[in-house]
């Protein structure tokens, strides 16, 4: 896989990119930080593709042809990690392994904190895939959740749902690490949900237990987890 020079975007397998124009077009936006290095995958990346890219300090990983550059999902500074994946890819790849590799090999965070970040990020990513992008309804019966595997596969056969983007950004500062997860499906009333958590095994309870701060924006479609280091 070719390494992208700083500030450039490389389309995997092709070397040059129509994407660079879009990059320039939006570079003046106030909320658009500089993507130092980026890889644009013309085919769905595998888990190993993503781990290799992280290992090579390529901080932005992109998939899809109709990317909206700018907004918060594309912000990345040196040392950060930004993933933009379709729902289908996010489901297929081993996202835990990708994030775990980044935290353990590309940050100097304590392993216990890495574990907390991984656990709570995975919960938010799962929520983003299921409830937001795939618009799966929350079951009212615990036993019914065992049929989720079938339901998820059925939803993934819907191209519109499967191609929705999921963005995961890790932004590191000397004092804290922010993890921003952006879904592109249904919104989510986080405050209502968190006030109605009935069990400590629910994902929301786990997220609150492990993160120092949760910031909710855009009707729950942008969630920022902050962890003080």
């Amino acid at each position: 896989m070719p390494l992208a020079p700083s500030g450039k975007v490389v389309k995997k397998d092709e070397g040059t990119q129509p994407f660079a124009k879009t990059y320039q077009k939006h570079s003046g936006r106030k909320d658009f930080l500089v993507a130092q290095r980026a890889v644009l995958f013309s085919v769905s990346p595998t888990t190993q593709d993503l781990i290799d890219a992280i290992q090579n300090d390529q901080t932005v990983l992109i998939e899809g042809k109709n990317l909206k550059v700018g907004l918060r999902g594309f912000e990345a500074a040196p040392g950060d990690l930004a993933l933009s994946l379709t729902t289908l890819t996010a489901y297929i790849i081993d996202i835990i392994a990708v994030i775990d590799h980044f935290l353990l090999h590309k940050t100097s965070l304590h392993p216990v904190l890495c574990e907390q970040i991984l656990t709570s990020t995975h919960e938010v990513v799962t929520n983003a895939i299921l409830w937001s992008n795939l618009e799966v309804d929350c079951p009212n019966n615990r036993q019914k959740t065992l049929n989720f595997g079938d339901l998820i596969k059925e939803r993934l056969r819907n191209k519109i749902l499967a191609q929705r983007l999921l963005k995961i950004n890790f932004h590191l500062t000397p004092e804290w690490i922010d993890v921003v997860i952006i879904s592109s499906g249904k919104g989510f009333d986080w405050h209502h949900a968190i006030s109605n958590v009935s069990s400590t095994v629910q994902g929301l309870a786990i997220i609150h237990s492990f993160s120092d701060q949760v910031i909710v924006e855009e009707d729950g479609k942008i969630l920022t987890l902050r962890f003080y280091t």
């Binding site: 919960e123 959740t145 065992l146 049929n147 989720f148 595997g149 998820i152 629910q202 309870a205």
Partner: protein, 100 residues
Amino acid sequence: MIYTLKSTGPKIEVDMKGRLTFADYSSFREITQIVTENNSKCCLFDLTELEFIDSAGLGMLLIARDKLQSVNGDVILKGAQGQVKKMLDLGRFDSLFNIE
């Protein structure tokens, strides 16, 4: 998650490896079906080699417990460590399960 099943009479032992997450609903349904078909009264989940569990995975263990309790059976959890142990502690699973 990869699992292996050992059946000794009415007891089933399930060894789990890797990660138990929302991607494992189908696999876990297979386990519960086997437990049901086997008329098992006791199911021991050996979590020694389980590296990671999420809220969905915790929910699956609770489903197994519900199923076994409905036939006056029991679920035992064994060998949890690291992140898995922390998650079980967070969910206060010691008050819900027999833990070896």
